[in-house]
C-alpha cells in the first residue's frame, strides 16, 4: 500500500502524542519531533495536531511562529545557524557569514534549491570563549574560520546520504 507523507505524518503525530501525554503540554514536544523528522511543521500537521488536542489550529500556528526552531516553511536537511551575538562578532563572525553565503550561494534566511541547507542567524550559542560558533542541526562547531566553513559543509554532504536514505524510506512504500 502506498503511504502518503500526510498519512505518515498523521500516524507519527498519534505516536508522539501517546508518548508525550496527549494534552496541551505535549504540544511543543510533538512539534519538535515533527520539525526534526519533516524539516518543517506543515499546515496539515498543525491541523491534525489541533484536532487531536481539541484546540484551534490558530493556537498551534501561534506557537509555531513564536519559536525560532519551529518553522512553517520547509527547512533544509541541515540548518546552519551562525551566532551573531557580540563575542562571536568580535571574533570574526562577519567573515564566516560571508563565506557561508558564498559557499552555499544563498543569503541568511534562505534554503538552497536542492533543499539540503538552510542558513540562519542565531543568538548566543553559549560558546562565547571559542567563537565564532555555528550550530548545524544539533552539532556545535567552535572557532569557525572562513577556511573551515568548507569542511563543515563537506561533513554535512557526506552524512547526507544517510539522511537521504532515511527520508526516502519515510516517504516511500511501506
Amino acid at each position: 500500500m502506498l503511504v502518503t507523507e500526510q498519512e505518515r505524518l498523521k500516524s507519527d503525530i498519534g505516536t508522539w502524542l501517546q508518548r508525550f501525554g496527549n494534552d496541551r503540554a505535549a504540544l511543543i514536544p510533538v512539534l519538535q519531533e515533527i520539525q526534526k523528522k519533516y524539516a518543517r511543521v506543515s499546515e496539515y500537521g498543525m491541523q491534525v495536531l489541533a484536532d487531536q488536542l481539541g484546540i484551534h489550529p490558530v493556537e498551534v500556528y501561534s506557537v509555531v511562529s513564536f519559536y525560532s526552531f519551529l518553522d512553517h516553511r520547509p527547512q533544509g536537511k541541515f540548518v546552519i545557524r551562525l551566532c551573531r551575538t557580540i563575542s562571536c562578532d568580535m571574533q570574526g563572525k562577519a567573515r564566516v557569514a560571508q563565506q557561508l553565503e558564498s559557499d552555499l550561494g544563498i543569503t541568511f534566511g534562505e534554503t538552497t534549491p536542492d533543499g539540503k541547507f538552510s542558513l540562519e542567524w542565531a543568538n548566543c550559542l553559549g560558546m562565547c570563549d571559542q567563537g565564532p560558533a555555528v550550530l548545524v542541526n544539533d552539532i556545535i562547531y567552535t572557532r569557525v574560520t572562513p577556511a573551515t566553513v568548507h569542511d563543515i559543509l563537506e561533513t554535512c554532504r557526506k552524512t547526507f546520504g544517510v539522511y537521504a536514505l532515511e527520508s526516502s524510506h519515510e516517504e516511500g512504500h511501506a
Binding site: 494534552d23 496541551r24 503540554a25 505535549a26 504540544l27 511543543i28 514536544p29 512539534l31 519538535q32 501561534s62 506557537v63 513564536f66 519559536y67 525560532s68 526552531f69 519551529l70 551573531r84 551575538t85 557580540i86 563575542s87 562578532d89 568580535m90 542565531a122 543568538n123 548566543c124 550559542l125 553559549g126 560558546m127 562565547c128 570563549d129 571559542q130 567563537g131 550550530l135 544539533d138 552539532i139 556545535i140 567552535t142
Partner: protein
C-alpha cells in the same frame, strides 16, 4: 563534549557525590530550608532572589502537586557556565534538584534545557538513568522512606525569553513563551497553577555544596550581601577567556588581571541585559549590591567601537522581545534606530536625551525583565562614551 577554552579549578569538582543529598534527607524539612537560608545563597540566574526564602514559600504553600524546575535555558549573551556545569557536574545539579524536591515536598523535577544544547541531551539522560539505577531517583530516594522524586528533561525551541521563569512555565504548558504578570509568583501559582520553584542550574549545584560543606562555609565567603562563590563565563578581548570561579564581590580589576584583560577599555557585566563598566570604574565590585551578573563577563579592548556593541545588543533585544507589551516591543526598535542615527552622525544631543528618557521609561514600564533591562547597555554606553559615539562623520566606522 566541548571543553572551555580555559577552565579554572571549581569547588564543584571537590564535592563528593550524594553526601549533600544524604545530609539533606537526615534533616527535617524545616532545618534543611533553614540551612539554605542561613547560607544566604542568592539565585545565580541573574535576579539574585534568596533561594532559602523561595524554597520556604513553596514549602509552605498547600497543594497536592508541586514542581521543581531547573532553568537551563542559558541564553544571556556571554554566558556558558551552565553548559559547562551540566557537562562536568550534572550530578550536583540533579542532586540539588532532589534536595529542593525534598525541601518543598515535590515529586516532580523538570530540567528545561535550551534547544541550542540538544547535544547535551544524551549525556544528561545517561546521568539521570544512572541515578535511577542507584536509587537516587524514583521511590524511596536514597533510602528515604516515602520520598519519591524523579526528573524529566524538556527542550526549549530557540527563544531567549523562555529563560524568564513565567515564560518558561508558559512554554512548558505548551504555549508561546510570553511572561505572565508577577504576582502571583511561581512559588504560589507556577506550572499548571501549582507551587513551583524555578532555580538556575548553578543555584542547585551550590545548594548541594552547602549541604556538604555547611552554610557557615558559604557565608564566610564573599560580601555581607552577596555571599559565597560564583561561576563566571568570560569572553571577549582577554588572553584567557573561559570559566572561572571567584568569591562574590571581586572587583572588576582583579577579575581582569586573572583573565588577562588588564588593559581593557570597558567590561560588559551581566550580558546584553547588564551594564557596561568603563575603565574608570574598574574598582567596582561584582556583587548584587554593586554591579550584578548571572555570570556573563565580556571584555572590550581599546580597538572596540562601543556604538557597535550597543547596536549588537539592541538587535538582540529587538529580535528576542516577545512583543507582548508596548514599551519593549516599540522601545527597542526606537533605540536601535537612534544607534543607526548616531552611526551616521545624525543624532542631536536633544534627541539623544529623548532616547535616554525613553530607555528610562522602558526600565519602569516594561512587563518583564527583558524590557526592563534591555536599555541598560545602551544607556551606560551613551553615558560613558559620549565623545566616542557622537559627532561621527558619515560612513566612517569611527
Amino acid at each position: 563534549m566541548i571543553t572551555p577554552n580555559h577552565k579554572a579549578p571549581l569547588t564543584f569538582a571537590t564535592i563528593e557525590p550524594d553526601v549533600g543529598l544524604r545530609a539533606a534527607m537526615a534533616k527535617p524539612r524545616a532545618d534543611l530550608i533553614a540551612e539554605i537560608t542561613a547560607s544566604q545563597l542568592k539565585g545565580r540566574g541573574g535576579a539574585g532572589f534568596p533561594t532559602g526564602v523561595k524554597w520556604n514559600l513553596a514549602a509552605a504553600a498547600q497543594a497536592d502537586v508541586k514542581y521543581v524546575i531547573c532553568n537551563a535555558d542559558e541564553g544571556e549573551p556571554g554566558t556558558f557556565k551552565d553548559r559547562v556545569i551540566l557537562t562536568d557536574h550534572a550530578d550536583l545539579v540533579f542532586e540539588g534538584m532532589t534536595i529542593g524536591g525534598y525541601a518543598v515536598g515535590s515529586k516532580t523535577g523538570i530540567l528545561y534545557l535550551r534547544g541550542e544544547y540538544t547535544y547535551l541531551r544524551p549525556h544528561l539522560d545517561a546521568v539521570l538513568a544512572a541515578r535511577r539505577k542507584k536509587g537516587l531517583l524514583g521511590v524511596n530516594v536514597a533510602g528515604k522512606q516515602g520520598f519519591e522524586f524523579d526528573i524529566e528533561i524538556r527542550m526549549g525551541s530557540g527563544a531567549y525569553i523562555c529563560g524568564e521563569e513565567t515564560a518558561l512555565i508558559e512554554s512548558l504548558e505548551g504555549c508561546r513563551g510570553e511572561p505572565r504578570n508577577r504576582p502571583p509568583f511561581p512559588v504560589d501559582t507556577g506550572l499548571n497553577g501549582k507551587p513551583s520553584i524555578v532555580n538556575n542550574v548553578e543555584t542547585f549545584a551550590w545548594a548541594t555544596c552547602i549541604l556538604v560543606k555547611g552554610s557557615a562555609w558559604f557565608k564566610a565567603i564573599g560580601t555581607q550581601r552577596s555571599t559565597g562563590l560564583k561561576i563566571f563565563s568570560v569572553s571577549g578581548d582577554c588572553k584567557l577567556p573561559g570559566i572561572y570561579e571567584f568569591p562574590m564581590g571581586i572587583t572588576v580589576n582583579k577579575m581582569l588581571e586573572a583573565v588577562g584583560g588588564a588593559d581593557a577599555k570597558a567590561v560588559q557585566i551581566g550580558g546584553a541585559s547588564g551594564h557596561c563598566v568603563p575603565a574608570s570604574e574598574f574598582g567596582r565590585a561584582i556583587a548584587f549590591e554593586d554591579v550584578s551578573t548571572g555570570g556573563s563577563i565580556i571584555v572590550f579592548g581599546h580597538q572596540r567601537d562601543m556604538l557597535a556593541v550597543a547596536k549588537n545588543f539592541l538587535e538582540f533585544f529587538v529580535e528576542e522581545s516577545c512583543g507582548q507589551c508596548t514599551p519593549c516591543r516599540d522601545g527597542n526598535p526606537k533605540l536601535l534606530e537612534g544607534v543607526e542615527m548616531l552611526e551616521h552622525g545624525r543624532c542631536s544631543m536633544r534627541y539623544l536625551n529623548e532616547l535616554s528618557s525613553l530607555g528610562e521609561t522602558m526600565q519602569v514600564a516594561s512587563k518583564c525583565g527583558l524590557g526592563q533591562s534591555a536599555p541598560n547597555a545602551f544607556l551606560s554606553i551613551i553615558k560613558h562614551f559620549k565623545d566616542e559615539v557622537m559627532g561621527r562623520t558619515q560612513g566612517a566606522a569611527h
